[in-house]
Structures are given as structure tokens and as C-alpha cells.
Symmetry: C2
Subunit: 165 residues, 2 copies
DNA sequence: TACCTTAGCGAGAATGGTTATCGCTAACGA
DNA sequence: TCGTTAGCGATAACCATTCTCGCTAAGGTA
């Protein structure tokens, strides 16, 4: 897991963007939120609140869980982070995406729990159009695929140490 | 909300199908599960566990919450019900679909909380193919649209009593 | 730079949906 | 009809998240 002090240019640009958004919305940015933000953006694994808490605590040992949730809320509200609730089987807590804070499809590996970004291909937009035709006004959408990631397909048949049988 | 004793033919067929699946899997079907099943299938509103509990309790006052969750689990495991976790903003608990217990897109109204089925149009399959091409093995998918249902679009601009601002 | 206002903080309790535990009961095969 | 045991009701436990409260410090202002 990559962290604060060896953050890449792209990541630090994202940190700057997110803090700018916070300030533009009149929200304050202190060391606590910076620690949370860098822990979030320093990871490409779609981390959960607990992982972000553990990571950010390295930089700020006094950090509390509540502050993490408040910071993530503030980021979500200002468009600096995407919240992903996975409560239908595979995973049981929210995950966050600070690198691509806009709706895009995800692939969830049922074997190892990893979450990967998937190329959209405009499918979401197409189905949204269909719904609009039926009278619904679509503001955003959510698409998740479940299965096995390449790393968890050793042979063809044997099932892995699954999280959800 | 429609219930047990004035259930339509289609619904009672679904009840029969679900109980058959339970028995085929070696699970038992007593009055408790029947009450849960009929409460689930008697509703087209994608009810939550609490609503199912309240509804089924009318037919079986001694029913406990635990039994509802166990029955819903048994139904899900045998393919008699589809579990929908909506934990990313709009709703905060599982919902269940006993009428169409197979993956299909849903529209969630951010104003009134209603959940509607949406025509798929093969978009899910297309995006799944794209993921397969990238090496992922897709077993199932999930697609949810968020916005406003026709009933919650009075004028063009004024926002409703939203559940999530 | 010092001061002020108040958003945000840490600590810990509370919440709420869901799951686990346990002794008892009844579904269903023999 | 009987025996096995899955399922039941009741309740405690669980766990991610939210709330509360008194204190602190971010950032605007003088």
C-alpha cells in the first residue's frame, strides 16, 4: 500500500483537487482530513473505512474512527470520493474510490474480495436511456460485476477459498 | 399491499415454485416459511426484511425476526428470492424480490424510495463480455439506476422531500 | 499578529440491521 | 407412528456507522 510520503504526481494532483473542492464548498482542511485523504488516494484497492483508518493512523496516531467517517462524508459530498456500498453478499462494508470519484463499473472477486475497475463501454448510459424513455429521470447509476478475477482462476474447475459459497 | 389470501394465480405459482426449490434442496417448508414467502411474493414493492416481518406476522403472530432472516436466506440460497443490498446512499437495508429472483436492473427513486424493475436491454451482458475479455470470469451482475420516478416529477425543477440530499 | 467564530476533532456511547446461540418444536422420511 | 434433526422463538451479540459533547484549531478578520 502506497502512502503519503511517496505519493505519485497523479495522486498528489488528485489530493490537491479534492482539497480545493472541499475549500470551495466552505469546508476546512486540517491535518486530519489530509491524512484521511492521502490514505484514500494513496491506495488503488478501493479501501474500506477501516483500512483507511489504519493507514491514516500511521501519519496521525490520534485519529479517531468518527473523524474518518466525517472526512469521507465531506469528500463524498464535494465530489472528491466515490462511495461504494457492497452489501449484497460478497462484501459487508462500504468501500471508497478516491482516484476515480465518478460512477463507473466495478468487478468484485468473490474469491479474494478484490475490487477492480472495468471499462464502461457506454452500457450504463444505454440502459439509463431506456429507463428515461419509461419516464424515469436518471441521475446516476451503479454497476457491479461479480465473479473471479484472473489471479483467482488457477485451473478451470476447483473453487477457491470463497468468502461466499 | 396484497397478501396471502387474495394472491393471484401468477403469485401462487411463484410460491409453489419457491417451495419446490426449497424441498428439492432438502430444506423443510413449514407454516413459518410459508408466511414469509407469501408476504414476500404478495408484494411488488421489493420489500425489506422489516416489512416482510410485519406482513408475515399478520398471518403468524408468533413469528420472530430471526426466522424471517433465516427464511429469506434459505430462499436466496435456493434461487427463490433475489437479495438487493442498497447501502450506497439512497436506502440503508436489504430489499428482496420474490417475483423475479434473477439479476435484472432496478431503478431507485431518491425522492420516495420506491424501487422499480427496468427493462435490461442486454446492456449488462455486453459489459460482462467486456470484463470477460479482460480476463475476469463474470458469474452475475448488478445494475441500479438512481433518480426520480415519474410520480416524483411534478414540475421540472423543484426538488422533492428527498431522503438523501 | 492576535483574535474570533465555528467547523471539525477525539472519545465513547448509541443505533440499527443482521447474525449467532440455545433449548424446544414440529416437518417429513422410514 | 416414530425418530431425526432442520427450523423455530427469544434474546444476546455483532459490527459498521452515526451521534453527542466538550474541546481544539482552521481560516477569516482587525
Amino acid at each position: 500500500m502506497v502512502i503519503a510520503n511517496d505519493i505519485t504526481d497523479e495522486r498528489s494532483a488528485r489530493v490537491g483537487e479534492a482539497t480545493a473542492r472541499l475549500r470551495a464548498a466552505g469546508r476546512r482542511v486540517g491535518p486530519t482530513r489530509m491524512a484521511v485523504l492521502q490514505a484514500l488516494i494513496g491506495s488503488d484497492a478501493h479501501p474500506g473505512a477501516e483500512e483507511i483508518f489504519a493507514e491514516a493512523r500511521k501519519a496521525r496516531p490520534s485519529l479517531s474512527r468518527g473523524a474518518v467517517y466525517r472526512a469521507l462524508d465531506a469528500l463524498r459530498e464535494t465530489g472528491g470520493a466515490l462511495e461504494l456500498g457492497f452489501h449484497d453478499g460478497a462484501l459487508s462494508a462500504n468501500r471508497y474510490d478516491g482516484l476515480r470519484p465518478y460512477p463507473h463499473p466495478h468487478f468484485v472477486c468473490l474469491a479474494c474480495g478484490a475490487i477492480h475497475d472495468v471499462a464502461a463501454g457506454g452500457a450504463g448510459e444505454r440502459i439509463a436511456e431506456e429507463a428515461e424513455r419509461a419516464g424515469f429521470r436518471v441521475e446516476r447509476y451503479r454497476m457491479d460485476l461479480y465473479g473471479k478475477c484472473p489471479a483467482c482462476q488457477p485451473g478451470e474447475t476447483e473453487p477457491e477459498r470463497r468468502r461466499n459459497p
